[in-house]
């Protein structure tokens, strides 16, 4: 899952990025509205965390312009908790709202819920045959036995599982699993897929030659 964080306070941006990466997300950062809008328009993020008070282009404006083109789920973040602001945020097209100072665990929970909603999922657990993925604890079990996966392996599996039945191209997988700061080597993906098959069975993830991967 790839997230965009738009926040002008550098230290907060740094912390959010760090915390989200540690949760297994690929994270892009933008420090102002213009940069944020550019990034949000040029890539299909799984969710955007958006501050309201931003230089150059404020959160409202950015959201409004983005909504003319995309339905990316947006979580608004602001230091203002006025009732009007909340209503305005939700009316403008924000999907959720969080007031600063926020609790990191709440932010992460809301983000998970937001992504789940956008993919029409009702539970934080995804079952694929005998494998169960817990997106909250970021752990996997096979026949009830825990299987140890690396963060990257889990992320690949999660992305394929939530888009179950779709063929996901290598490019798409790359784009959603690695952020702008990751050094991407194409063969790394093969290594992760190989490892997943070894841990959870060779037929879980199918390879469509020339097209990509798929969980059926």
């Amino acid at each position: 899952m790839r997230i965009l964080v738009v926040e002008d306070e550098p230290r907060l941006l740094h912390n959010l990025t760090k915390a989200l990466r540690e949760e297994g997300y690929a994270v892009d950062a933008a420090a102002d509205g213009e940069d944020g809008l550019f990034k949000a328009e040029s890539f299909n993020y799984d969710a955007i965390i958006l501050d309201i008070m931003l230089p150059k282009l404020d959160g409202w404006e950015m959201l409004e312009r983005l909504r003319q083109k995309k339905r990316t789920p947006v979580l608004m973040l602001t230091a203002r908790d006025g009732h009007n602001d909340r209503v305005k945020g939700l009316d403008t097209g924000a999907d959720d709202y969080l007031v600063k100072p926020f609790d990191l665990s709440e932010l992460l929970a809301r983000l998970r819920a937001l992504i789940r909603r956008s993919l029409n999922q009702t539970s934080s657990k995804i079952e694929v045959r005998d494998v169960v993925l817990d997106t909250r604890a970021r752990s996997a079990t096979r026949d009830g036995n825990p299987v140890v996966l690396t963060a990257r392996e889990f992320a690949i599996l999660e992305y394929l599982a939530v888009h179950r039945g779709e063929v996901i191209s290598r490019t798409e997988l790359y784009e959603h699993l690695f952020d702008e700061n990751d050094a991407t080597f194409s063969n790394l993906l093969d290594v992760h897929i190989f490892s997943i098959r070894k841990k959870l069975g060779s037929d879980l993830v199918a390879t469509r030659r020339g097209q990509g991967y798929c969980i059926e």
Binding site: L16, D32, M53, G82, P101
Partner: protein, 493 residues
């Protein structure tokens, strides 16, 4: 209580006084009318009594076969019994009194005169005739009511008089011979007429009163409508809707002027409330940002085991955030104290030039780091001020001038005296302020660069302004974008 309202009170008072006036006028009118009626009545009585008395002694018409004692003025009375009711034939029946009876004169009543009087009709004129010295009537008409007595006037009191007896008015004439002739009639008709007239007057007055009161009510409602608008607006404002205004088109009336005054008061209230709200909102926003940093820093760091370097970095960032909060709360407290009043100024005589020199020394390191030159052009001016506070203003202006300057830029700071005013000018050739932002630079939490990441709370110039104004001075700014800004502080000596 509806009758406690101004409208009702005015109306009731008006009704009260109007009724008094109308009652007075009505009574006067009725009185005049009655007197007039009675006068006319009396005139008719007098006319008849005059006719009667003038024909008392005239000799009988020649063609009449009456007995006339020669030379002796015997009493001769024309019997009017024929006249009672029978006006057609008018045959006269003469009664001749005994010739030996001493007669004061030849009393006689010509039938054509007698015919003028009523018959049995009690509402018509009646007459009574008394010879001199007699109290029993010698002659009277058939319709004469009971109890008509001789007026018993003194002998000498000849002439015509009017007397009123219950409903009857009577005119009597005492002739020079002492005979008395009386003509009377009941005035019931006149009194009835007067009653009718009084009733009309009463109805008319009531109608006029009603019309006037209705008109007055309409006027009152119109005149007091603004008051109701005012109280409605005031009610809404009291319940928190400060955007309410009173809409009264007629601004020249008393209430219109009141409404205008109230409107401007409401406007000031609204502005000050919204400024207050804005200030609180800004202050909480400014405080929340460092708190967010602090919390997210701690939570992220504590989420798992970290290296000592990570901990050090997190603690450093936390310290920065805490420092930022401290600076902000100090600024807020300072503003609050300055807002509260002047008692905290510790004023003494100080030289503005010295204060500026000290401040320049204070920011020299910062200026050197930013490679900005500070040129001083200082004239000694003694001012009575809180030197520490003024130094704070100078330092703040200099810091801004340095931070918003270009590399290798320059700042000119000067002091001089203009009459009883000390003038301090800080001019830089830095980034300047956009024209649209210029009026707002002294506003609390206003910052031309929106992000405020540069550790700029947006309170510095507000504090400068508050300090200068607490000294009774003023601060102003002119600026051209990308050319630089000039701040001018004026302080009373």
């Amino acid at each position: 209580m509806i009758f406690r309202s101004i409208k009702w009170r005015l109306l009731l008072w008006m009704a009260f006084f109007l009724s008094l006036i109308l009652a007075g006028l009505g009574i006067a009118l009725c009185h005049i009318h009655l007197v007039d009626q009675l006068n006319q009545f009396d005139d008719r009585l007098l006319g008849r009594v005059a006719t009667l008395s003038s024909s008392l002694y005239t000799p009988p018409p020649a063609e009449m076969d009456n007995h006339q004692p020669g030379g002796n003025p015997g009493l001769t009375v024309v019997n009017d019994s024929s006249a009672t009711g029978d006006l057609s034939g008018a045959p006269t029946n003469r009664i001749s009194p005994p010739a030996d009876k001493p007669a004061p004169g030849t009393l006689q009543l010509p039938p054509d005169i007698v015919r003028l009087f009523g018959t049995q009709n009690t509402n018509s004129y009646y007459y009574v005739l008394w010879p001199r010295g007699e109290s029993d009537p010698f002659k009277q008409s058939a319709n004469t009511p009971d109890g008509v007595t001789h007026p018993h006037t003194a002998e000498k009191d000849t002439g015509t008089h009017i007397r009123v007896r219950r409903m009857f008015r009577e005119a009597y004439h005492v002739t020079e011979h002492g005979d008395c002739v009386l003509v009377g009639r009941t005035a019931t008709e006149e009194y009835d007429e007067a009653t009718r007239f009084a009733r009309l007057v009463f109805l008319g007055a009531a109608g006029v009163l009603g019309l006037i009161l209705a008109g007055a009510w309409g006027l009152l409602v119109r005149a007091l409508r603004p008051l109701e608008k005012i109280s409605a607006a005031a009610l809404k404002i009291a319940s928190g809707d400060l955007s309410q205004r009173i809409n009264i088109p007629d601004t020249d009336s008393e209430l219109g002027r009141l409404a205008a005054v109230l409107n401007s008061t409401f406007a000031r209230l609204e502005t000050s409330f919204s400024q207050q709200r804005q200030f609180t909102s800004d202050a909480s926003h400014e405080l929340r940002t460092p708190i967010s940093v602090l919390i997210s820093e701690a939570q992220t760091t504590l989420a798992r085991e970290r290296s000592p370097d990570d901990y050090r970095e997190a603690l450093g960032a936390s310290l920065d955030a805490a420092q930022k909060m401290r600076r902000l709360t100090e600024s807020l407290l300072e503003l609050a104290r300055l807002d509260a009043g002047q008692e905290m100024l510790r004023r003494e005589n100080a030289n503005l030039a010295t204060i500026v020199q000290d401040s320049v020394k204070f920011v020299r390191a910062l200026a050197a780091e930013a490679r900005v030159q500070i040129h001083c052009d200082l004239v000694d001016v003694e001012i009575y001020c809180d030197a520490g506070r003024i130094a704070q203003v100078v330092t703040n202006l200099l810091t801004n001038a340095i931070n918003y300057n270009y590399e290798d830029g320059e700042i000119r700071i000067s002091t001089r005296r203009e009459g009883s005013t000390a003038v301090l000018i800080v001019a830089d050739k830095g980034q300047g302020i956009a024209l649209g932002d210029l009026p707002r630079v002294f506003e609390r939490f206003f910052s031309a660069d929106e992000s405020r990441s540069a550790g700029n709370s947006g309170l510095g110039l507000s504090i400068c302004k508050a300090i200068v104004e607490a000294h009774g001075g003023s601060i102003a700014v002119t600026s051209i974008i990308q050319r630089g800004s000039t701040f001018t502080v004026r302080l009373p000596v």
